[in-house]
């Protein structure tokens, strides 16, 4: 279809008026192989009646023969052009439709269109990449722990730190809207912790985390645990430079949470099904919760944990240790 006037479709209008062009010296080759050359001024709303005459037609037929004729006519013909060819217009038409927008709005000049083509999160992503390369250079394994409020993140974290504390260097970044209660709970274990208060913000971003990383003076070959703001929505979109997002779902929530908040469970590589010691007292269907998570993210790994009974803790700790050794060995490979 001609994308100036819409001939072939005959529906392009500007402010309700059909677009009219003076075409001169058109040479069309159609899909069926016919070609014609004509000089006329017309309104391309096809099914058109030529009031004006004198067409110079050059036909090339399927059988290879061709003829040329000049005739005077006044006719109404059903002009079924299948205009799916690329024809270059050399006549004096300013083609707004070929501009960066591929379209044009009345009163707007093409020259003042600025092409951006940048991801909205590109700023965050560039900070995240800085964080990621810093972490890689120093062999630090970073995890971004995400969940809804009250899933037992901090308790699980405290137990994790207590179990890892002898032998592994680690640091914690805590994100909450207000208070430094969580950082205080972590510090009580002896691990260095920094609290980020996001104020009205609903998530940590890569810039905040980068700053916190500098302040914490992280050790080489260590573990960085980032406890995000309790929120299953926004933290999914903000890359912090971590190796993995770990989603924590507690069995006191609904089995359908992964379906209700699919972005988060899709962004996560590991799901901890937490508070599993409470399962006997609840109607929570753990299998269904896992199945729902896999519907959103077929590759998600799942570990059933309980900070209270210690269930699954070894598997979780082994998973962390494996990640840490990988980060260390990657550093030595990349550093060479």
């Amino acid at each position: 279809m001609c994308n100036v006037c819409g001939c072939g479709a005959g529906e392009t209008t500007i402010d309700g008026k059909a677009v009219e062009h003076g075409h001169g010296g058109h040479f069309h080759v159609h899909a069926d192989g016919t070609a014609h050359d004509h000089d006329h001024s017309h309104n391309h709303a096809h099914d058109h009646e030529h009031a004006e005459a004198k067409h110079m037609h050059y036909h090339l037929h399927e059988d290879g023969s061709s003829h040329e004729h000049v005739h005077d006519h006044l006719h109404g013909h059903d002009h079924q052009h299948s205009h799916d060819h690329d024809h270059s217009h050399t006549h004096g038409t300013t083609h707004y439709g070929l501009g960066p927008a591929g379209a044009h709005a009345p009163g707007m000049s093409q020259s003042r269109m600025v092409k951006i083509e940048q991801d909205i999160l590109s700023k965050n992503d560039s900070y995240a990449n800085d964080n990621r390369s810093y972490l890689a250079e120093h062999g630090i394994f970073a995890l971004n722990l995400v969940s809804s409020p009250g899933s037992g993140k901090t308790t699980l974290l405290v137990k994790t730190i207590e179990a890892l504390n002898n032998g592994m260097k680690l640091a914690v970044i805590e994100g909450d809207q207000q208070t430094d209660n969580d950082a205080a709970r972590i510090r009580a274990t002896g691990a260095p912790a920094l609290q980020i208060n996001t104020g009205k913000g609903c998530h940590l971003d890569a810039f905040m985390v980068g700053k916190a990383m500098t302040q914490l003076a992280l050790n080489d070959d260590s573990l960085l645990l980032i406890e995000n703001v309790g929120n299953l929505v926004c933290p999914a979109s903000f890359d912090l430079g971590e190796a993995h997002k770990v989603a924590i779902l507690s069995v006191t929530e609904g089995e359908d949470k992964p379906l209700k908040y699919p972005d988060m469970f899709r962004a996560a590589d590991l799901m901890l099904l937490n508070k599993c010691d409470l399962l006997p007292y609840l109607t929570f269907d753990a299998e269904l919760a896992v199945a729902n998570a896999r519907r959103v993210n077929p590759d998600i790994q799942v570990i059933r944990t309980s900070a209270t009974s210690g269930e699954g803790m070894n598997e979780w700790l082994d998973w962390i240790k494996a990640g840490c050794s990988k980060a260390v060995s990657r550093k030595s490979i990349d550093g060479r």
């Binding site: 709005a105 600025v114 951006i116 909205i120 999160l121 700023k123 609903c202 979109s237 959103v296 077929p298």
Partner: protein, 113 residues
Amino acid sequence: MHEMSLAEGVLQLIEDSAKTQNFSRVRTVWLEIGQLAGVEVEAMKFCFDAVVNDSIAQGAELVIIETPGQAWCLHCAEVVNVKALYDACPQCGSHQVQVTGGNEMRVKELDVE
């Protein structure tokens, strides 16, 4: 309300390009938002209007181009359309689908003066 942060990200991109492209007012902003990007279009419009107040984009029209969600179905071995992240393949019902499109959030272009 991460649409607020996203709107701030949009404004940041606009202000950055205002410096490099020398413009002082933005009249229209085109955003491309995928169906699976987790962005609420109405909330985005609301936040954008709030964020651009007293900026070079004050009063600018926000045009959102929504792109369809697409995924690669492992069973069918072809690209299928999906409406949500947890959708099964519309052809075979499998959940073994990898999202391939419709999760973008981009500032496409600006009409400026």
